[in-house]
Amino acid sequence: MSFSRATYLPARRPPVSREGVSGWLRQNLFSSPGNTLLTLFALYIIWLTLPPLLDWALFDAVWRGEGREACLAEDAGACWAFVVAKFGQFIYGRYTITERWRVDIVFITGALLLALLLSERTPGRRFIAAFALFVYPLIAYVLLNGGMFGLEVVETSLWGGLLVTLVVAVTGMVVALPLGILLALGRRSELPALRFLSVIYIELWRGVPLITVLFMASVMLPLFLPPGVNFDKLLRVLIGVALFSSAYMAEVVRGGLQAIPRGQYEAAAALGLGYWRAHVLIILPQALRLVIPGMVNTFIGLFKDTTLVMVVGLFDLLGSVQVNFSDANWAAPQTAATGYAFAALIFWTACFAMSRYSIRVERRLNIGTRRE
């Protein structure tokens, strides 16, 4: 029997039931009796929990007030008045009130630089990145710490709130990434001494809890330093956090390096590219985009771990919130819950933003390597 096709079949649309709102519902929520049951159960749970939550957070909440009286009502919800009154403390800690504008400038320029860097359409991103990495930290340091250009010195022991959270987190991230890359390369190096040192560094820092690192940095380190030599507690914590997270970052980056096929190294070598050029131009750009989820995961973890600086007497956002619970003027049943909710909201917003941004970057970078 022989057959020869006269015409090719054209492509057709999928069956209707898979399209539109009803199609989506049928496919995702009610595709089987079991699924339908789960959907109904989930709706029931939402119905049980959502209204009371909204009542507490919005409808019964107290928004205005000068003190605890406003929040003492029988069935009052969240005491947002507390957050409003203490907002300055949550953001700046005990930073001298008349000097808070300096923090504002650092925040605003930082946010501006970040926005410019994150958008793909900004011209000259390379120069902005260089500025953000090398010049901005100096400006930020001079502004925050003072002692130069007639600026009054504000001791780091006065710093607190979101300021400390951001300083610790951003420094940790900015130092951890390059250091982590170098450590990952060191661990894969063909030079035994370098490899050995990298392994020791990574395993040492990864094997110790961050709390221990912080205690070591703030309590034990001064014992080893000669008397009279002492440096800032915040600085010690910054160094501890940066070194700690670079060990994690190193392992994340190493995972990416291992996923690059041998052929890429060989093609680079065959073209005459040496070790550094091959890594900077060929290997790292690919390896780093493979591990974006892992890197962001580490960043998010680091951001939340900054709350641990409380144990050595630094007051980050959460610490500043907690300290204010003891203010008798605001002693009300819902004060603590509201404070925690506020801190959680800030942390969640920052972490969620990082997560969404990483997804966007992944999508954009995948355009090139995707087939079609």
Binding site: L271, G272, L273, L281, I282, P285, Q286, L365, G368
Partner: protein, 251 residues
């Protein structure tokens, strides 16, 4: 093979031995390649043919014997290795294009960073070679958007952008669909006709017959037979060669 003018010699391999662990993968290889020669190496898998050409640009290290490429001996001197690699182009079985760079960037990368060519000049050079392998229109696409045959032609153009004196081909058509093998072979034949010195590891016997000056048959890490193509196919001397040829030509 008579000794010709040694100034014409571009690759000189003598007494080459290499081991992978305990496995003696290359045994006492002697090979002299003169300018504009086209050599095809064939043999069963595991015979060491890929390893041999990978030794020529030091992707594999040899344990004994000498390899001299363009008058530079390959040893532990990194400068020598760089010198040799800049003059030897290589095309791989799995293309090994850089997936994060466009076709054009794949081609300009080494001229810019190794040869220190100005960007505009490198771009012009690359476009010239891309046109030559009939892929100029795709210059701004990424490797993942091209077919296997197109990718392999880009890989050839990328190697040519370094203006190499020698081209090594490591089974360039083995991972291609049948419909794409021809477009790659056509480019290679073109290159051969221009007088490029080429060493090809391939099982494309039609290509070997039309292009090669010499065909070498390898088995168990050694050169078993070496001859001009007509003699090699019509009158193979060694029983192992006859067996191999009957296997691959029987279909």
């Amino acid at each position: 093979m008579s000794e010709k003018d040694s100034a014409d010699t571009v690759i000189e391999i003598s007494g080459l031995n290499k081991w992978f662990g305990d496995f003696h993968v290359l045994r006492e290889i002697d090979l002299i390649v003169r300018r504009s020669e086209r050599i095809v190496i064939c043999g069963p898998s595991g015979s060491g043919k890929s390893t041999l050409i990978r030794c020529i640009n030091r992707l594999e290290e040899h344990q004994s014997g000498r390899i001299i490429v363009n008058g530079v001996e390959l040893n532990n001197d990194l400068k020598h290795i760089d010198q040799v690699r800049a003059e030897v182009g290589m095309v791989f079985q799995s293309f090994n294009l850089f997936p994060h760079l466009t076709i054009l960037e794949n081609c300009t990368l080494a001229p810019i960073w190794v040869r220190r060519l100005p960007r505009a000049e490198a771009r012009e050079l690359a476009m010239g070679f891309l046109e030559r392998v009939h892929i100029g229109a795709q210059a701004h696409k990424f490797p993942g958007q091209l077919s296997g045959g197109q990718q392999q032609r880009v890989a050839i153009a990328r190697a040519l952008c370094m203006n190499p004196r020698i081209m090594l081909f490591d089974e360039p058509t083995s991972s291609l669909d049948p419909e794409m093998i021809k477009e790659v072979l056509d480019v290679m034949i073109d290159l051969a006709q221009e007088g490029m010195t080429m060493i090809c590891v391939t099982h494309e016997m039609g290509f070997a017959r039309t292009v090669a000056n010499r065909i070498m048959f390898m088995d168990e890490g050694q050169i078993v037979e070496e001859n001009a193509p007509e003699e090699f196919f019509n009158n193979p001397q060694h029983p192992r060669t006859r067996e191999f040829l009957s296997q691959i030509l029987s279909h």
